[in-house]
Amino acid sequence: MNIKELPDIEYIISGTGACAGCPSTIGLRLVGKALGENAICLLTPSCAVASMGMTPKTCYSFPALNICFASAGASGGAISMALDALYAKKKLEGEKPVVFAWVGDGGTYDIGFQGLSAAAERNDDFIFFCYNNEAYSNTGNQRSGATPQYVPTTTSPLGKEMVQKNVPLIMLEHRPPYVATASLAYPLDFYRKVEKAKKIKGFRYIEIHMPCCTSWKFPASETIEISRLAIRTGSWLLWEAENGKLNLNGVTADLAAGKRKPLPVEEYLKAQGRYAWLLNSPDKDYYIGNIENNIRRELEFMAGRAKL
């Protein structure tokens, strides 16, 4: 698959309310090309909702239901199951649409976490996309369970004390049919994963790294470059798993196998204003040391996990 073979269909209609350089709309465009027209989306409060246009207008060409913040897990599964009932009883004709949820890290890691875990455990038949910008960006950059260690936000002004949750890993250990991570720096890898997910029945979880220029404080034009640096430094890992069987992808696989050294994480940090305080701190080496230790740990962990 190369870019020129990507379908024409556009889930995004120009003139959205998103910030210039927003990765969410880029992500949705790729999702749309993989999932096609016969799809139904479930949305919870997040950037993608705040920017989708106000009643009666929207910038999304796909049918979508906006529901309460904590409801993604339950509602995604319910839509899918209700469709099953209606198609089985012939109350609807044709092919059942693919059901997907497009949820921010808040609705996945925090307020929606219970529902997410339950949906995975029940093996509800839909694709749960978490588009992760590592904060509550929609409401002005408050900390979330996905915010990395040391990152200052409006509700963690001195820098977040704890490391972020690893929800893709938690999902991996629910062992649903498909779990994957993705990056916009590798759009065809993302496209491939969505296409693959579309063909699988049961619960599928795909988390995409979403560098947010507004909250992370970098120029809008660098959204893709920051995504790339995240992968090359090992700050974001690319992998996929079917029924708990893990495969690392691309650069991540090479980093984990030691075939390639990760780029020094400072390259990634210095490109983002949210780490400026750390880079200017007298304890900078201590913090960077911790971050790199964590990266090493995660790579070693995932390399070992991939052997199971």
Partner: protein, 85 residues
Amino acid sequence: MDKKIVQPISRPVIGAGGLTGTWRTHRPVVDPSLCNACLLCWIYCPEAVISREDRTIDYTYCKGCGICAAECPRKAIHMEREESR
């Protein structure tokens, strides 16, 4: 019985976020002589304003984010300051 739609429904329309072209301070300008139609700018545009066919840009909605210019492998796109802003 013909029921009225009583739910709060929205329909897809261009410019749902307004005339977003007015947001930008810089506009991307494509040099067709350098372009090799790799389509990276097309797929990376958050607003889908770059034409797949010929890389013309819908400046009514282009926000001037500059991702296209940053990602173009041929440096065929450069960002020009908007004169009137």
